[in-house]
Subunit: 421 residues, 2 copies
């Protein structure tokens, strides 16, 4: 290894999006390889609003693998981290950086240690698939650092072993995770169905819902569902395969009514099998139910669906509006029913693409209070308001896949010491 | 018709229990005959705490059929009332009351009108199966008045046409509604599995849960589930038949662990298929979920289940405790987590069999406030309280079937005028 005497540090920084499934993954057929019992389809969310940034670095001066998440050191001893590191190291190639005078051979990687720093531009605990973006970014950035020659599909099979849904974060736009048939999981990979430009009218509004309950982790939740639900097998074998075909068709044709119908029905069925688990798992709460009620009522009052909704393993609602205009009308309804607590700044209550707020014509809290009830609410039923039940809204859209950030100023580790900045 | 000149009034008063399904009925194969897509099993609740009392009367002075519910006149024009009246009238026999000098022939019933007055000893709108007890009582009392010779099974097939679950209220104890195969519904009847003395240790605690939402009626709810759920057919054809066999066995052997496991799993699956409906139906709310969480945590902390829970088409929890001792411990936990609002009298917060309260050692609100957290709650998690989320509790037990009240002072109609007292 050339340059060994010098205390050089080589680093790569990458950014990877999170994703939201519209045909859900729930249930593994292999716990350690993370192989699912059905295909799933997701929409990649714009990394401008929801992403993980990870810097990975290597140096002969490092004496062990270390990782920091949002500035705090965390353990890498977990099986999922170890598996990803091992799989990527096994595929490392020669790396040469002539400018820095560094040469690392394939063999050297076995003895070199890594420093990894990862940062989410959204609250980690909010239940917004941070592990999907996180493991995708870890695998993607390590693959770049180690000059791994495998394509994105093969990388997705590695990211999958960190967190199942991470495999879908290796592409932008619309992504399918093929469950695969092989025992070793080699064919359980993600493929892109269409990129983010294919259907760029869509706007996504996420309601981060306040919750007092501790939620069941998705890992143990799906294990319990597979072990105890009498409905999950029927879902995986009979229902999902048809929906996958129909969803691919809906995405291809930008057929919003079919897309919305399938996404909503599949989200509800995922929560149904959670409830059919023993003991039952409840991820949605009254606020989630009220958001669904609001969207369903509006969709029914229109000629065709305007908004699709989907919920992962938590109470947050992810709503997909068919157009920017519809998204503004949606946000208007949401702000009417779910205004923030009295002392909340509107600027921190609606984050992400704030231009949607301008379309609504809402500039401050006074404007929120003056919003009229949606026309689909009947006059004889007083419109109900649930102040404080939503923590905040994120406005975003379908977005691109992972990218390398070549500007070293964006690195999360110091290029000289390899320690967090 | 003898005695026609005299303005005589003949009346019968009966009392009929409500029931709670432990293997659920959800979905019809025939909407007008009310034929279900699967068998169901219920426990009859003690009429001392939850029942309908109905007085039916006949007189040549009545010029039309009329009905009063809880003192207020209601229309009898609905198809379900009409069908029950027609079916019972078709089976009427000769009636003779020598003391009153009344003789009615089979033929006379076609031209005689009825007055009916019905009263629930519990709030009608609380979602406590008032229509089951109501239609059962209507059919039972009319059958007595008209000297109908059919057995209870045949009467259950008539009550079924008023409200499906009404057929199960014609017996005490444990009752099975056999779905039947015939197109005319003649074999879709209820049968008694065991009477209320068979398993008399059981104690039932009902939490009437406060709700701000308007609920989907079970009639339209089950229609929408049958039309749109991809899971309901699998439930009806593959899951329920096995559970019916297992539940009959559990009841026969007084096997509480199996009984509890089946009842809870089937309640949760019923709510799962409601959620799998498009648009989804949510009957349980956050309070329902918290009650389930509390019972599940306690059951897990014990060696075997202490309490079963089941929820009908609403947020109210029906909990079945394996013994009186367990019921006291359950009520203690419920009062700890769900204390009443400040100005509530304990006497109106726990109704029905109040002796359970004495077992708990709780005499007033001060005692409720002093209740210690249940031992299964870990010290590191502060015990949560949800004041005001439960409206009240009803303590009861499995109970007997319909009875005739021969004491005329208990009649709801005046024996002279046939008008409400």
């Amino acid at each position: 290894m050339a340059g060994e005497s010098k205390k050089w540090v080589l680093l790569v920084t990458a950014q990877t999006p999170t994703n939201i499934a519209v045909i859900k993954y729930w249930g593994k057929r292999d716990e350690s390889l993370i192989l699912p019992i059905n295909d799933s389809i997701s929409v990649t969310l714009d990394p401008a609003h929801l992403c993980t940034t990870t810097t990975v670095s290597v140096s002969p001066s490092f004496d062990q693998d270390r990782m920091w998440l949002n500035g705090k050191e965390i353990s890498l001893s977990g099986g999922r981290f170890q598996r990803c590191l091992k799989e990527i190291r096994a595929r490392a190639s020669d790396v040469e950086d002539e400018k820095k005078g560094i040469k690392i051979t394939k063999k050297d990687w076995e003895n070199l240690h890594l420093h990894i720093s990862s940062y989410n531009n959204f609250p980690t605990a909010a239940g917004l698939a941070s592990s999907a973006a996180g493991f995708a970014c870890l695998v993607f950035s390590l693959a770049k650092l180690m000059n791994v020659k495998e394509d994105l599909g093969q990388l997705s099979a590695i990211a999958r072993q960190g967190s199942g849904s991470a495999c879908r974060s290796l592409y932008g736009g619309f992504v399918k995770w093929i469950m695969g048939k092989n025992d070793d999981g080699s064919d359980s990979i993600a493929v892109q169905l269409a990129d983010e430009k294919h259907w760029d009218e869509l706007v996504i509004v996420i309601a981060v819902v306040s919750s007092r309950q501790k939620e069941t982790s998705s890992t143990s939740g799906m294990r319990e569902t597979v072990e105890t639900s009498m409905l999950i097998k029927h879902r995986a074998k009979e229902v999902v395969p048809k929906r996958i075909v129909e969803m691919e068709e809906a995405i291809k044709n930008r057929d919003f009514p079919s897309f919305a119908h399938l996404a909503c029905a599949d989200s509800n069925q995922f929560h149904a099998v959670c409830m059919d688990t023993s003991p039952p798992i409840f991820y949605m709460n009254d606020t989630s139910h009220r958001i669904i009620g609001c969207v369903e009522k509006w969709n029914r009052s229109e000629e065709s669906p305007q908004v699709a909704y989907t919920f992962d393993a938590g109470p947050n609602a992810v709503m997909i509006a068919r157009s920017r205009k519809v998204a503004a009308l949606l946000l208007q309804r949401l702000l009417f029913h779910f205004p923030p607590n009295a002392d909340t700044d509107l600027n921190s209550y609606v984050i992400g693409d704030k231009s949607i707020l301008q379309d609504v014509g809402v500039k401050d809290m006074k404007d929120v209070e003056a919003l009229p009830p949606p026309p689909e609410i009947k006059d004889n039923i007083p419109a109900q308001k649930y102040k404080g039940d939503v923590s905040y809204f994120i406005c975003t859209r379908p977005g691109k896949g992972p990218v390398v950030l070549s500007d070293e100023s964006q690195a999360l580790l110091c290029p000289k010491t390899g320690m967090p900045k």
